[in-house]
Each structure stands twice: as C-alpha cells, then as structure tokens.
Symmetry: C2
Subunit: 263 residues, 2 copies
C-alpha cells in the first residue's frame, strides 16, 4: 500500500509531500484514511446519528493534514455514509432522519410529494423463522439451510394496500426480531435495524420486472388476478458490501409510480 499508516511519523518527516512516496501499486493517503474511517464506522466506534471527531482531531490522530482528512470525509459523505453540517460537525448517517426518510423507497404518489400521504400503514402478515432456500442463501451469502427470518407485510397509503413485501434476514444477526417490534416501531424499518441490531444499510441493488398478480398476492393487494405489478427484488448491503437483507416487493402502480433519476 505504499506509505504505511502504521509508521505514521514518516509521513511528517520530510515535508508536504511525505505521503506520496513512489510505490508499485499506488494508494493515495486519503484513501487509506477513508479505509480507517470506514473501519471505525464498521466497528461501531461512532454510531448512526453521532458526531465523529473534528477534521483537525482526525488529522492529528492519523498524522496527516486536515485537507487529506477532508478529502476522505468528502468521499464518505458523497456515498451517504457521513453527513456534514457546517458549524456543528460531521455525523454518521442514519435512516432515522426526515430528510432521507425515503431514500430507498422510490415509489411515489402520482400527484403530490413523497410522504405527502402521511406515514404508510404497515400490516405485518407474518414473521417467522425458517431455513434459507438456495436462492435466498445466494443473495445473503449464506449456506442453503441456514436460519433466516422471513417477514411478510403490506404497506397501505390512504387505506389502499399498495406494497406487498417479503423480507429475508439472516437470523443470526437479527435474533429477537418479532412481528410486534416491527409493527410498533415508529419510523423506517432500516432505522430499527440500526438501533436494535446495529446494522446500517449502506446501499442496495434493485431488479425490477413487470409481473401479473397471482399466488395470493392479488388478494393481499386487493387487485384483480393478473393485474400487472411492479416486482422489485432488492439486496441491501451494510459496510464492506456485506448483504444483509433480501427483499421482494410487489408494487401497485395505479396511483403510484417508481421514480428514478438518471445522470
């Protein structure tokens, strides 16, 4: 990795360019700092919602200049892992915030703004412990047969059932999750995961298809059999690209649509 942060004194010994020694496979200092910050986040040194040390403090801790720390933080902020607030500090991002409440839910009402319908009504249909199928195991990087929690729920807006979701979670990590806790918790499900299970979802991948309503889903969503639904398969990841949730959603799109911005 070039300039070792295990011997940080070297970085200050020879001047402004100390961190940029020539190497075979070059890794910028700020990337290494970013990695260290990531470790601290992963290990829970700073928890979601908390402030992290100031740029100056971190610079002193890692024996680099403030600008280098800044660049590392900039990237983490761009990835939505940290949140900067001028005059206050830099905070660990959390799903329990109004601003980013719907960051992972791209289904919005055709008229009005996201959330304008008020909070969704959540009905937990079931929450049970089961064994991972081959497909679930592959998605969650488990072995087939490993224990998983399976949750089925319906989200309704203005009284209309709109989203049916099946969620699979590794039972080892989400030990103690029950239908009651899911139903009673106020706020995003991912915020509950943060506070109760110390799991922060960082990014997700979604595969979207159009499928006819069948297999009992038409009843739960109160649509005619065969009605086209949006099938949204999501894998959500924590730090270090570790998959932590598989979610299969069926969205009604008669009054809502999936909104995506390309750039």
């Amino acid at each position: 990795m070039s300039t070792s942060l295990l011997a940080p004194a070297e970085n200050l010994a020879v001047g402004p360019d100390a961190g940029a020694l020539p190497t075979a496979s070059f890794s910028p200092l700020y990337q290494q700092i970013k990695g260290l910050l990531l470790s601290s986040l992963r290990l829970g040194e700073w928890k979601p919602g908390e402030v992290i040390p100031s740029e100056m403090d971190l610079a002193a801790r890692f024996r680099v200049s403030q600008g280098t720390v800044r660049k590392a933080i900039d990237e983490l902020a761009a990835e939505n892992l940290l949140m900067r607030r001028q005059g206050k500090g830099t905070f660990v991002a959390t799903h329990a915030e109004q601003q980013v409440q719907f960051r992972f839910l791209k289904l919005v009402p055709d008229s009005g703004t996201p959330g304008s319908e008020g909070p969704a009504q959540r009905d937990i249909i079931e929450c049970r412990r089961t064994r991972a199928s081959a497909e679930v195991a592959r998605a969650l990087a488990l072995r087939a047969g490993d224990a998983v929690l399976q949750v089925r729920r319906v989200l309704s807006f203005l009284g209309t059932p709109t989203i049916l979701e099946d969620i699979w979670l590794p039972a080892a990590t989400f030990k103690g999750l029950t239908a009651e806790r899911l139903a009673n918790y106020q706020g995003p499900t991912y915020a509950l995961f943060e506070t109760e299970f110390n799991v922060r979802m960082v990014r997700a991948e979604e595969k979207i298809r159009a499928e006819p309503a069948r297999g009992g889903r038409e009843q739960l969503l109160k649509v005619a059999p065969g009605t086209p639904l949006l099938s949204v398969e999501r894998i959500a990841y924590t730090y270090n690209d570790v998959p932590m949730e598989l979610r299969r959603g069926f969205y009604r799109t008669d009054t809502h649509h999936y909104q995506n911005n390309l750039s």
Copy 2:
C-alpha cells in the same frame, strides 16, 4: 453574488483569501467558475469529446488558483458533464463512448452483462412530424400544437423484440431528423443528437409502471395481449434543465430486468 468575476483583478490583489469576501448571499468562487464552465459548455465552446483547457490555463483565464478550478471541474465531473483522464486532460462527456454506452438504458439481460448480447437491432416503425398534445407540450415545455417529431421504434436483442419506444422531440431543434438517419447511425441515439443537432442529454427522469400489453403494442413486442410490461416514461434534459426529449418505453421483462442501484 459577492466577488465579481467581472472584476477579477480584485481576487488577486490581497492574497490567498481574496475570493472569500463577506457577502449577503454567499456564493463560493468555485461555484461561479463552475457556472462559467457550464456557460462555455452550453454555448459549445468545447464540444462533446473534445478536451477543455488545462486546469492551469483555466486558472489563468479566470484569475483564480488551480485548486479553485479543480473543485469546479470536480463537481462537473461528478455530474458526468466532464470526464477527467490523468495525464491527458479533461474532456467534455459524450454518449459516444463505450464506457458509458448504456448509461441511460437500465434494462439488462438476466444473465450476462449489459451489452453482452451485442448491439440491439433497431427497427424504426415510424418517424413523422406532428403537433404536440397537451401532455407532450407540458413535458417538453412547449405550447400545445407546437411542431414535434414523433418516432416509434422497436429494439430487439438476439432477435427478440424487447423494447418498444415512442419518442417525442421538439421539431425546431431536431429539424431534418429522418427515419433513415436514425436507422443508419451506428451508436447510441443520444450520440447522434450530439453530432447532428448539437444537443447533449445531461440527465433524465424516469417514471416506471407495470402495464398490460395492449393497443397494438402486444403485436410489435410479440407477446400475448395483457402481458405485463414495464412502462418507462422518460424526460431527458440538456444543460440548464431544458427538457429536450419525451420518451415512452415498454419493456419486456421475461429475459431482461430494469437494474437500479440505490445509495
């Protein structure tokens, strides 16, 4: 806006902090530089694919430090308007590049990578001049009845018709576009727009729904009537958020899916 770039000499007169004079509504210098770069892009001073002047040259031109220019370019690069290549220079982004060939097409085959099926076969069903409906006019910021070009085409992968698209373009800007030119052009349609009509698409918004195949679309896509299709309504924008294209696509999702990454 604070420090005026119309009187740039002031910025160098008093030292390192010259650009950060206190103001009522504060606008950082690099944001102003970004605006100037955006103007040059919009006015076509540098065309897609071309190099822009070096950071040092731009710094001299705008009478600011290289670091300030760098930050402006960084943001434009993050928005995919510019492309940096170490050792070579900074280039105006273009849709005519292998790397970003499919930046706006999120439909990928279930197995294999995007583009692994080779180039799509494009059949232009029609290309005609018509008048904007109220809906089209609203999307393209035109007046109802204004002249628009309407294109209908089918994209096929490995011989299977997979995407049916209706495209609406303001006729004033796309004067001279014909089915022949669309069919004969090798490469992304947006690359043709760049070279032939000097229109560069910068971002787009998509609204996605599940809808049954009907109205003749089932025949063009060779599916049974009522087959669920992904309906993708896209508005694409050039610089300054000017809408330049309305596109309504219907995607078969039996062998492909719409891939989206959330973060």
